[in-house]
């Protein structure tokens, strides 16, 4: 680092002050602008709702507002994910002085009705009169008092359904980049201490303490003047989409988290690694980087400090294994994405051989709130070892399915019955699958199990990225196991033998059982392969790939047994039938040989000739 003269430092500080003021002004300007509105319509335009037609809904809202001449009174916002994805497109109407109101399954027609029947009359008559929902809109409202909403505690998703993700001013007005400004006035070690004290653990799966990881990076010396932080946005679990939504709705929050990490660890630049199948996330991150550069948040001497910093974006080509940190680094370098052994850990030798910390999207989104609210605030939520909140993608046969953020330690029962509102079929709840293809099942008998890293691991599953699939009585657990194993077998990078061959062979055996052709020996072989994979596979994905199978065997052994029993009975019946047939055949031949051969008109028994 170049030594600066006193005048230069003064000048920098001056420049920094101006930069800070300018940024805060952007926030103030936003506040001033929204002052003029007396109502707002927030329409979820995240991937799920967007594909459900949110784009047309937004257009319909705009048109209607213009028809009623309300475009200057009502603010129209296309937001990030609101959470209750299965009921999308969602729209939230907020009128000053009134309770917010949420509509589900909004179509362009419904949108027009919302304006004509709800917003326009209310604005006309004033807010003193209670709202009477017109008959056309009945059945479209969603109570915000649902446990789905009240049970949640939003830290990461806080701004997501409630702000314009493309508006830097709004982010700043909501307190954005103030955590970074606060950090730049502290020493890096102090920032590190806060994160360590908060007890934040990696949200990508294994739950490694973030403070510890950053400390390792901070203590690693620069290589060729560089070290990095990488944001792992290569979410690949079937059913999990929280990273996509966080990036799509709160790219600035993630970027701010990364920058705080970089300041705390001395990293010189950050890389976003986001899968190419997330166009919205990519677009928003790109925009966030552009805005940040424009406002001096990225670049040299940020806010007058000695901190220089750049961010870059790379597309992942969609291989599941590239979410594994060492494979991700290979992919970032332009190589075939295959994991390599640790140690050396990426914090010692990572991207291009330089120290690198790889953090999950959700982890990074937690950083700024921790800095702003203090580590005690964060660690007051959660269990003894799992602090804070966790975002889950609650899906499957559940009434309210979507993206939810709950305090760590929320029980399975609370998640399924309260947040999820019970099974959608009304049939008895059977199990939830957590942790995606690396996880396992939690049976109904464990409804009071708290959701945290340790408990999930104990039961043979894992936190994973937070996928949570609810199953009812009709679901076959063997099929579930087959589905996940099929996924990991297909996505195996092919490098290590236990995963490449073991997974494939195990899948053949599971298929055999599912088809009703399995035997007890097959079950024993599955466990044998499973153990070898757990112990011998090179990376976390291979080691956890047998989890869905092993955990269903553990908790739903009877289902496997039943299929095997069926196969045995079928086989026995076949054999019995075969035996009877051959017995009959034998008798037939016997009869035929005993039958006297007689010629025409000859009465002599020929056999005696």
């Amino acid at each position: 680092m170049v030594e600066l003269s006193r005048e230069q430092i003064e000048k920098l500080k001056q420049l920094g002050r101006v930069q800070k003021e300018n940024l805060l002004k952007v926030g103030e300007a936003f506040k001033d602008e929204v002052q003029k509105y007396i109502a707002s319509i927030y329409t979820c335009n995240a991937t799920g709702c967007h594909s459900g037609g949110a784009g047309n809904v937004i257009e319909a809202f705009k048109e209607s507002l213009e028809t009623f001449g309300l475009q200057d009174k009502v603010r129209m916002v296309a937001t990030g994910c609101m959470g209750l994805c299965a009921s999308g497109p969602l729209a939230r109407v907020e009128i000053k002085g009134r309770e917010p109101f949420l509509y589900k399954q909004v179509t362009p027609d419904v949108a027009r009705l919302i304006v004509s029947e709800h917003i326009a009359p209310t604005l006309e008559k004033g807010t003193s009169e209670p709202l009477k929902l017109s008959k056309y809109l009945q059945g479209k409202e969603l109570s915000l008092k649902l446990p789905f909403f009240t049970k949640q505690k939003k830290v990461v998703l806080k701004n997501l359904g409630h702000s314009d993700p493309e508006n830097l001013g709004e982010y700043v007005a909501l307190g954005g980049y103030q955590a970074l400004m606060k950090c730049l006035e502290m020493k890096p070690e102090e920032v590190l201490e806060i994160i360590k004290k908060s007890g934040l653990r990696g949200r990508g799966g294994a739950g490694f303490p973030t403070g510890k990881k950053w400390e390792m990076l901070a203590s690693a010396p620069l290589v060729d003047g560089e070290k990095f932080i990488v944001c792992n946005g290569d979410e690949g679990d079937p059913g999990a989409y929280m990273d996509s939504c966080i990036l799509g709705g709160g790219a600035h929050q993630v970027l701010e988290g990364m920058m705080i990490g970089a300041y705390a660890t001395g990293a010189t630049s950050v890389w976003f690694y986001i899968r190419a199948e997330y166009p919205l996330a990519l677009q928003r991150v790109e925009l966030a980087i552009k805005q940040a550069k424009k406002h001096g948040i990225l670049g040299r001497n940020i806010f007058g400090s000695n901190f220089n910093f750049m961010a870059d974006l790379r597309y992942g080509a969609g291989a599941f294994v590239c979410g594994e940190e060492t494979a991700l680094l290979e992919s970032l370098e332009g190589q075939r994405g295959t994991p390599h052994p640790r140690p050396p850990y990426p914090t010692q030798k990572g991207l291009f051989g330089k120290p690198t910390a790889i953090n999950n999207v959700e982890t990074l989104a937690n950083i700024a709130p921790i800095i702003l609210n203090g580590p005690e605030w964060f660690s007051s939520v959660g269990t003894a070892t799992s602090k804070g909140t966790k975002v889950f993608a609650l899906t499957g046969k559940v009434n309210h399915s979507g993206l939810v953020e709950v305090p760590m330690g929320t029980t399975v029962g609370e998640m399924v019955n309260e947040v999820g509102g019970g099974t959608s079929s009304g049939k008895p709840f059977k199990a939830v699958q957590t942790g995606g293809p690396s996880g396992g099942v939690i049976p109904a008998s464990h409804l009071d199990m708290p959701l945290c890293y340790e408990e999930l691991k104990k039961i043979g599953s894992m936190m994973g990225s937070g996928g949570m699939i609810v199953m009812d009585h009709d679901d076959s657990m063997v099929e579930i196991a087959k589905f996940y194993l099929n996924f990991t077998v297909d996505e195996s990078c092919g490098k290590c033998a236990p995963c490449r061959i073991g997974g494939y062979q195990m899948l053949q055996l599971v298929k055999k059982i599912a088809e009703g052709k399995g035997t007890q020996e097959d079950l024993a072989l599955i466990e044998q392969i499973g153990n070898a994979m757990k112990r011998g596979a090179l990376c976390g994905l291979g080691q956890t790939a047998p989890n869905p199978v092993l955990s269903t065997i553990r908790f739903f052994h009877d289902e496997y047994e039943a299929l095997i029993q069926q196969a045995t009975e079928k086989k026995q019946a076949e054999q019995k039938l075969k035996g009877e047939i051959s017995k009959l055949e034998n008798e037939m031949t016997k009869l035929e040989t005993q039958k006297p051969v007689t010629g025409a008109g000859c009465n002599v028994n020929c056999t005696k000739r």
Partner: protein, 591 residues
């Protein structure tokens, strides 16, 4: 030093040692499959798992740490290793009896060690028809069905050789090693160095076997069969019969070749002496008369020739036009020798025994390889093939009496024999160049040019005084190291500066031919060193140590060639080079 405990025994090893090597210190041999001491551990197979403080880790790639408590075997570890091995076998053909690696396969011996008596899992390897072997190069055979994806070949091809012909393609159970786009190996940047075959643990990558062809030549009474052996073969062939690496077995090899039925046995070392006469003279011409460009680069390694034609075609004028020693012996056999003994060259069959797979390609690489009017060398065998032939013939190699090579292409000098290791060609050349320039023999003490010998460094440099002129020299081995040297030259030439070197020696394989792709397997730096020492002692014990002193060489020039670089020499002993595309154009791939 790091202190740790392995199986309850205290061990102290230097920092950076792996668990695998630390265990060796206390006589614990942890089984491995994908690991090769020559290469960076890829840690793919999982056979070497051990428990470190209760956690399963791979011994091959995990560095030791203070206070580690390691268990290398317990029922759980053994069970894991056995299951992995069973899984490997389920994705491998059951064709050991007819496999080129029968009895020398690392997978086979592991299966034997672990006492696997049945195939627990259903075999899932596709048939030969679905997954055919690639023998397009006629040097190297890639049989993907036998591949266990250890990744040694890819590591050596990409990292050590910097050729990048082999890569991993596809994923999951379909993952396989192949050239990009599944092209035939012959249409790729492959330089046929054969390092992949020398490192492969199974029969997935092996030499193209020409021994059947040679057997039928030997059986044909009409043919006058001639054998010749390369410098590096004499210090490695013994390994196939249980001798220590580096044991010099020249006399026994001559005897074995005669017993196999070869009518004449020559020595490629003689050809190396001729190479020095030609190449040395060429260098002196370029240096003193400005007849050609500098630096001059040696050309006796066919894999290197291929590499340069593909990767550095702009450097072609820098190449010595001299052929490699075995091609020279081939050409002289079918002209000089054929005339001498009055045999029709058409009936002559020359077989060269080489440490190299690329030589199989070299014998037909250009029209100059047919300078005698016939194919100068008919077949090139690797050390591994000749070892199998000797075993097949039931020859008790170790107890064979020593014999002499035949005249006139059998007598060699120490300079010829040092061709077998990195720096040797340069050393041999300098001995003669010194004589050609100064008219005086090099002093005995200067004969071994220390800075360019040895295998620790991939690039060796030195400068020496030759008749008052400073000569700068570079020696590189392993094609991965060549780039640095050539890029320096390129840069200087681009800037119009004086090139950093006058003379450059390159050998494609690490350590030179002693570590060649056709040599007995299991090569490590220790083995390379031992083979190199064997050749050095052969040099030391030679009557003549400079090529120009060889009486048969003097006779050859007097009787037949005239002078080095004469017209006849140029016709028989020199060749030319052409740029080659890295990938042959495949129009069907455009779709």
């Amino acid at each position: 030093m790091i202190k740790l405990k392995i199986d309850g025994v205290n061990v102290e090893v230097p920092k950076g040692t792996t668990i695998l090597n630390a265990a060796k210190k206390i006589q614990v041999d942890i089984p491995t499959l994908c690991y090769h001491p020559d290469l960076h551990p890829r840690a793919s197979c999982g056979i070497c798992v051990v428990k470190v403080n209760g956690k399963m880790l791979r011994a091959c790639c995990t560095p030791v740490e203070n206070g580690m408590d390691i268990i290398t075997r317990d029922p759980e570890i053994i069970e894991t290793r056995r299951t992995i091995l069973k899984l490997e076998l389920s994705h491998h053909p059951n064709e050991c009896l007819t496999c080129i690696r029968n009895e020398c396969c690392e997978l086979q011996s592991l299966a034997s060690t672990f006492g696997l008596r049945e195939r627990t899992f259903r075999n899932i390897i596709p048939s030969k028809e679905i997954m055919p072997a690639d023998d397009s190069t006629k040097c190297i055979v890639l049989d993907p069905r036998k591949c266990i994806l250890c990744g040694r070949c890819v590591e050596v091809c990409q990292t050590i050789q910097n050729v990048w012909a082999l890569a991993f393609l596809d994923r999951s159970i379909d993952t396989h090693v192949a050239p990009a786009g599944n092209l035939p190996l012959a249409d790729t940047p492959c330089i046929k160095c054969g390092q992949c075959t020398a490192h492969c643990p199974t029969g997935a990558l092996s030499e193209y076997d020409n021994s059947e062809e040679v057997w039928s030549m030997l059986q044909n009474p009409e043919y006058h069969t001639i054998a010749q052996i390369a410098p590096a073969v004499r210090v490695s062939l013994g390994e196939a019969f249980g001798l220590e690496p580096g044991t010099v077995t020249t006399g026994k090899i001559y005897a074995a070749l005669r017993r196999l039925g070869f009518k004449t046995v020559f020595d490629t070392n003689f050809g190396a002496d001729v190479t020095i006469m030609e190449e040395g003279s060429e260098f002196v011409e370029r240096l003193t008369k400005g007849n050609g460009v500098l630096p001059m680069i040696t050309s006796c390694c066919p894999a290197w020739v291929d590499y340069m034609e593909k990767f550095y075609p702009d450097m072609i004028p820098h190449f010595s036009s001299c052929k490699s020693p075995h091609a020279i012996v081939g050409a002289l056999s079918k002209t000089y020798y054929a005339d001498k003994i009055g045999v029709d060259a058409a009936k002559m069959k020359v077989v060269s025994v080489m440490p190299c797979t690329a030589k199989k390609f070299e014998v037909i690489r250009s029209k100059e390889m047919f300078s005698s009017g016939y194919q100068d060398v008919d077949v090139s065998l690797t050390t591994r093939e000749i070892a199998r032939m000797i075993k097949q013939a039931g020859i008790d190699f170790i107890n064979l009496p020593e014999e002499q090579a035949d005249s006139p292409l059998g007598e060699y000098t120490g300079a010829g024999t040092v061709f077998g290791f990195s720096g040797g060609v340069m050393e041999a050349a300098l001995r003669t160049v010194h004589y050609l320039v100064t008219g005086q023999e090099m002093a005995e003490k200067d004969l071994e040019v220390k800075p360019i010998l040895g295998i620790d460094k991939g690039i060796k440099e030195m400068s020496m005084n030759l008749d008052g002129k400073e000569i700068r020299i570079a020696v590189a081995h392993g094609t991965g190291n060549v780039g640095t040297v050539l890029n320096r030259v390129r840069e200087a030439l681009k800037k119009g500066e004086e090139p950093p070197y006058h003379f450059i020696e390159v050998m494609a394989c690490n350590g030179g031919c002693i570590g060649g792709g056709g040599q007995p397997r299991g090569v490590t730096n220790e083995v390379r060193m031992a083979r190199m020492k064997g050749l050095m002692s052969d040099d030391k014990h030679s009557e003549f140590r400079c090529s120009h002193q060889n009486p048969d060489i003097q006779k050859l020039y007097k009787e037949f060639l005239g002078t080095p670089l004469s017209n006849k020499s140029h016709h028989l002993l020199h060749t030319h080079y052409e740029p080659i595309l890295l990938y042959k154009y495949h129009p069907e791939l455009k779709k």
